[in-house]
Symmetry: C2
């Protein structure tokens, strides 16, 4: 059953936006190869210096393994106040609200 | 430009899962009518008693207005430790990772 991995952290605002787009293109491509990975929305706030990601993973074990690896990686990049949560998706309510449940999506 | 609204909170685990599905069906339908609303993924963790939502809104002002209203509403339902963040979407990186940027989605 697909899960949501929600990660956010603080990071100097000058590392976000277009600078992140350039710096993280190869990282983004590598994320497509992670076991169980389905999708990621890259989140950022250049006003507050916050960023993170909203991921779909195919299962909780894959999300957990990725989170543990990724937390160390963003820490090495200068992230602070890193916060990660793995959630199940309430599929019935999510379907009412046009959200991506992960059903029918293919893994990548 | 579409934004992500990320909300999570603690809530007694017995209010989540199937009980939430039954109790919140009308709430979910009403959320479809909110200004600027595009989609919501309903997130929950019955092991830790945490829940929340990942929303797409058409713009930051709509997300902000909804967040202020919704925080009071879930507080009245018994939620504690409520945390809300509004993020921009890095569209280039999100497109590489198959995430929903909000572009080409219709509002509901």
């Amino acid at each position: 059953m697909a899960v949501i991995l929600q990660i956010d952290f603080t990071m100097p605002a000058e590392m976000l936006g277009e600078n992140l787009t350039e710096a993280a293109r190869g990282l983004a491509e590598s994320i497509n190869q992670e076991p169980g990975f389905m999708s990621k929305i890259w989140t950022e706030n250049t006003a507050t210096g916050e960023a993170g990601g909203i991921y779909h993973f195919a299962d909780r074990a894959s999300a957990q393994a990725y989170m543990e690896m990724h937390v160390k990686r963003v820490e090495a990049m200068g992230a602070k106040n890193i916060r990660g949560r793995i959630f199940d998706i309430n599929e019935t309510l999510t379907a009412i609200n046009y959200g991506q449940t992960g059903k029918g999506q293919t893994g990548h």
